[in-house]
């Protein structure tokens, strides 16, 4: 018979909040790439403005965690879950900052003509979003195996990043006038690459939650 039903209900609510925050950030990353592709400055401005909602959500979850620690004396897996949430929401919030960063680059680019059709950058964004979604599923399902698998896929993201970088470098070498535009796209790709790294950090926390072991996945 479960005894601490009220406490466990509040813990589940916090986990739902983390999922909701994850969806907000996934959307922000997706929209930032839409804005880049469409040169949609209004959308970019909206992404920048909406980042404060994500920050507010993070503080709200943090506050709930602090209250549970202070009032409920969580133990063992419950304690690890709350500690993991505190780390995970920090990582998610930083991924949102990367999406905001991309939106700001879109505003810098303004209405300059596109350098080339965008193919690999949207793929990087899709990959990052997919990894984020699955890392949060692993968190909810307490699935350390799935979390570990996601970290191995980060290499794919790195490969895409290197590919984008090499391609843009070629443009710049062929025609130095493209340097400003190409550099901005490198920044976009770099933001996405950082986001994928943060997903790896989330996976480390899922492994800690399940196994109790803190380990650096890629040292």
């Amino acid at each position: 018979m479960e005894i601490r039903t009220a406490f466990h209900k509040r813990l589940r609510e916090i986990q739902d909040d983390v999922l909701a925050m994850g969806s907000m950030v996934e959307k922000a990353t997706g929209l930032s790439i839409e804005a880049l592709k469409a040169r949609d400055l209004d959308l970019a401005r909206k992404i920048v403005a909406d980042d404060r909602h994500i920050n507010a959500r993070r503080f709200e979850i943090e506050e709930k965690c602090i209250q549970l620690i202070a009032t409920q004396q969580p133990m063992a897996v419950d304690l690890r879950a709350i500690i993991s949430v505190l780390s995970i929401i920090t990582e998610i919030e930083r991924i949102a900052d990367h999406a905001e960063g991309i939106a700001k680059i879109v505003l810098m680019i303004g209405d300059e003509p596109p350098l080339k059709p965008l193919i690999d950058i949207p793929r990087m964004a899709d990959k990052t979003n997919e990894m984020l979604r699955r890392s949060l599923d692993a968190f909810i399902n307490r699935d350390a195996v799935a979390a570990r698998r996601i970290t191995t896929e980060d290499d794919e993201g790195d490969d895409l990043y290197n590919q984008v970088f090499r391609e843009l470098l070629t443009f710049m070498m062929e025609d130095p006038r493209t340097i400003p535009r190409a550099t901005r796209l490198v920044w976009v790709a770099h933001n996405l690459e950082r986001s994928a790294d943060r997903v790896t950090n989330i996976c480390e926390r899922v492994i800690y939650l399940v196994t109790g072991k803190m380990e650096e996945i890629r040292g």
Partner: protein, 271 residues
């Protein structure tokens, strides 16, 4: 944080208003003052915890609400205490009727020396005529509400003393529920219980708070933190007992108390 939002945050959504209130309450036992100028609202259908060091007046304060202090020679109350806006110390108040509306659970489980069934049936029998069938229903529903039915349904005729300590305490809660109170006062209800029985009572309190107003006195700060929506901190300062230092949403009081004395007490810097 507003009280309302503290309570709706995974707390009983039925929170409505004030059930009990004291205004400039003073309590004297002969020449000694036990409570000093306490003004406090107790929210309806929520759990209010009264915390503070030994001898600060917690239990005296709790017993104000069902006039148990009346039984102590030389006890004298000043100020007002209202239940649903009615002064419970007014001459016209029937104390027996008041104690039916404001039930009490004590530190040590104190079942009567009779069967499980008779313990719960005792109150309804005294308070009015009920048929055997109605009594059966009341006993069953009270035991259900006290989360005890499944454990005792096959031993209703056995002595209440055959139950474990935790079961006896839940039986005492069922006994209170059987007379359909509105407020339940709990005076250290878990101090004689083991940790698992304690958590069971706390979980039960959370469910009961959907329907009843609960006030709990506890010297166990962790329990107050875990189980209550609102906390009030009483203190003894020098010779002066029963000073209300601070009260507010429990989550606030235990994470960012406003008063330095509360902070020192809950962090173990004095006590």
């Amino acid at each position: 944080m507003k009280l309302d939002s503290a309570l709706t945050n995974s707390r009983p959504p039925q929170y409505r208003g004030t059930k009990l209130s004291t205004r400039h309450l003073n309590l004297f036992y002969g020449p000694c003052q036990a409570l000093r100028d306490i003004t406090l609202d107790i929210p309806e259908r929520a759990i209010t915890a009264i915390i503070g060091p030994s001898g600060c007046g917690k239990s005296s304060f709790l017993r104000i609400f069902n006039r148990m202090n009346d039984l102590i020679p030389g006890a004298r109350v000043e100020g007002s205490v209202e239940l649903d806006g009615i002064d419970i110390y007014h001459r016209s108040i029937d104390v027996v009727e008041l104690r039916k509306r404001v039930g009490m659970v004590f530190q040590k489980p104190n079942p009567f020396p009779m069967s499980v069934f008779e313990n719960v049936a005792f109150g309804p029998r005294r308070h009015g005529r009920v048929s055997r069938g109605e009594l059966q229903d009341i006993v069953e529903s009270s035991l259900h509400q006290a989360a005890l039915w499944e454990e005792v349904k096959d031993k209703l005729d056995q002595s209440a003393f055959d139950l474990s300590g935790g079961q006896q305490q839940r039986l005492c809660i069922a006994r209170v529920l059987a007379v359909e109170p509105e407020v339940i006062l709990m005076d250290e209800p878990c101090s004689a219980l083991d940790p698992v029985a304690t958590l069971k009572i706390e979980d039960l309190m959370r469910r009961l708070a959907e329907k009843y107003t609960i006030i709990i006195v506890t010297h166990n700060m962790q329990q107050a933190a875990r189980a209550s929506d609102v906390s009030a901190f009483l203190l003894m300062e020098g010779d002066i007992c029963g000073v209300l230092v601070e009260h507010g949403p429990t989550a606030e009081l235990f994470t960012k108390p406003k008063d330095r004395r509360t902070e020192d007490y809950i962090t173990g810097r004095f006590g």
